[in-house]
């Protein structure tokens, strides 16, 4: 159940899962350190490929945010119900729940901070009311108000994490070299984003233009009629 495939992870990052699937994926992430590591790698690689990285970034960012949150019990959720004798009562599930909710919160915060960081960059590019994918991801991940509050008003530990994250791992602002990126894409083809619906007009035009020279007969038309979602918004002329 905690086996989170690369495909699933990538869909999670792209915001392509429905609510239930997303909940399950996040549950799996909480319980699966390996998946969490891959998740971070994907995010980092995806951001690097899309030129969304700041000059420097902490590769262990999410785990440090999570650790910071574990140390800061009162910020996020209301404290879980505890009996006075909590540490000695082995039949009580409250500590497990507390830890679960804290860790989930940490993960969610890490996700929304990362998403908001990306969004900060991306929102420069999007004034389009049709929310771009990243914004949707950020919104859906930041749904519970606590997370938003925390993400927008960094508390001391989170602030410290953010500040200290400027030091390690130098990634040049220009991003990795073409060769490195090509290599990264070959190793992780799932990193490339799913086609943004607003790109469909190019895809459709390309299919229309290139069809005649296509050895695959009607394949270009098959692509046109099967592109998912809305290919373009009509503009009243």
């Amino acid at each position: 159940m905690t086996n989170l495939s690369d495909e699933r992870l990538s869909s999670l990052i792209d915001g392509e899962l429905d609510d239930t699937q997303q909940r399950h994926a996040i549950d799996a992430l909480i319980h699966d350190a390996d998946a969490r590591e891959r998740w971070e790698r994907f995010h980092l690689a995806s951001d690097a490929l899309h030129g969304n990285l700041p000059g420097a970034i902490d590769p262990r960012f999410a785990s440090r945010v999570m650790a910071a949150i574990e140390d800061e019990p009162t910020i996020l959720a209301p404290p879980p119900p505890r009996k006075p004798s909590v540490s000695t009562d082995s039949t009580d599930h409250a500590p497990a729940r507390a830890s679960f909710s804290k860790r989930f919160a940490g993960l969610a915060v890490a996700a929304s901070v990362a998403a908001i960081a990306v969004m900060g960059v991306e929102s420069l590019y999007h004034e389009d009311p049709m929310a771009p994918r990243n914004q949707q991801v950020a919104e859906s991940k930041a749904e519970p108000s606590e997370y938003i509050r925390l993400a927008r008003q960094p508390s001391a530990p989170l602030g410290a994490t953010l500040a200290s994250s400027n030091a390690p791992l130098a990634t040049s602002a220009a991003g990795p070299s073409l060769a490195a990126r090509a290599e990264m894409l070959r190793a992780h083809p799932e990193i490339a984003r799913r086609i943004d619906p607003r790109l469909h007009k190019y895809l459709i035009n390309h299919s229309q233009q290139a069809a005649r020279s296509n050895i695959q007969g009607v394949m270009p038309y098959a692509r046109i009629v099967t592109y998912p979602g809305v290919p373009q918004r009509p503009v009243q002329q």
């Binding site: 895809l203 233009q209 069809a211 005649r212 098959a222």
Partner: protein, 326 residues
């Protein structure tokens, strides 16, 4: 067995040349069949885990070809091709796009004289690949493998009787199937019922985007943009200006091809606006790479590996028209 291998070895060069001739014949026959036969059927399209079916009808008339493809799942998008004029009905966005295809009659193979086929064989390895049965028809399989990592491979299933392409797959470098289309059933007829060739969507309340067919090729001396680096075998075949749907200004469109794979490069003025796209995108076999240069958005689209669209996108340069290269 040993003797067989020895004989095979002995006859290989000659045999390969023969196979090349046979292949070219099969492919020419396929092209003829696709253009001149009348047929209709159900086509299944698979991409990743996604399966969709569509109905297809093709009729050759005195005036030219009519072909119609309608998605049977989800949105009833359809494409109707009337010879060189391609009309896409997109009910999900309530729009219709009309474009006139650039190449004349005959398609890619009629222009593929022996020399071109030799050039293609430098880029791809063609081979007969056994037999198979598709949609109740016996087929000859043809495998086309790329000789480098800048293009995909193809596997084609050609009907032995009619020559029609009944199944087609696009293969990654590791021969993984990226997408495939296959007839689930097909009827080859004297005449396709006229109703099968009519659009099911009236499109009256849709927004129509008609590409201005008056727009001509940009003569080489007047070209402000050029691609400075292409993978081996790719050539620029056209450079035009288009008005894309949802845009207020013309996009410069460059079409490059290696003979099998085509890639489109779109260059649009940003007029000070930030570039809406950045980096790689993909869906199935289609890779997109987008970047910005000199207040212009560059979007490169093609059924080629990610490295190819990225190389092309990053090599686009602006030049002063008429000033010559570099």
């Amino acid at each position: 067995m040993k003797r067989g291998l020895f004989l095979l070895f002995l006859y290989l060069p000659f045999g390969a040349a023969l196979a090349g001739d046979d292949l070219l014949k099969s492919l020419s026959r396929m092209q003829d069949a696709l253009q001149n036969l009348n047929y209709y059927g159900t086509l299944v399209f698979m991409q990743g885990g996604d399966v969709q079916s569509m109905s297809l009808a093709h009729q050759a008339t005195e005036e030219g070809e009519i072909e119609r493809i309608v998605n049977l799942n989800g949105y009833a998008r359809e494409v109707i091709r009337n010879d060189d004029r391609v009309i896409c009905y997109l009910p999900d966005s309530k729009s219709v796009t009309v474009s006139t295809r650039r190449s004349g009659k005959g398609g890619w193979l009629s222009k593929l004289v022996a020399n071109d086929f030799a050039a293609l064989q430098a880029l791809y390895t063609f081979q007969m690949d056994g037999e198979d049965r598709v949609a109740g028809h016996f087929t000859q399989r043809v495998l086309i493998q790329p000789n480098d990592a800048f293009r995909y491979g193809y596997r084609l299933w050609l009907d032995k009787d009619s020559g029609l392409l009944l199944k087609s797959a696009l293969l990654s470098e590791s021969e993984e199937i990226l997408e495939q289309a296959m007839f689930a059933e097909i009827s080859i007829v004297d005449e396709v019922p006229a109703a099968m060739l009519q659009p099911s969507t009236p499109g009256d309340d849709f927004v129509w985007y008609e590409e201005n067919s008056e727009i001509e090729e940009i003569p080489p001396a007047a070209r402000a943009w050029r691609v400075t680096k292409m993978p081996a075998g790719f050539k620029l075949v056209s450079q035009k200006r288009h008005l894309l749907p949802d845009s207020s200004h013309l996009a410069e469109h460059l079409l490059v091809t290696d003979g099998l794979a085509s890639v489109s490069i779109y260059i649009e003025a940003l007029n000070g606006e930030p570039a809406p796209f950045n980096g790689p995108f993909k869906r199935g076999a289609v890779n997109v790479y987008s970047t910005a240069l000199d207040d212009h958005q560059i979007v490169v689209v093609g059924e080629v590996p990610a490295a190819t669209v990225e190389m092309l996108a990053r090599s686009v340069r602006r030049q002063t028209p008429g000033a010559g290269n570099d």
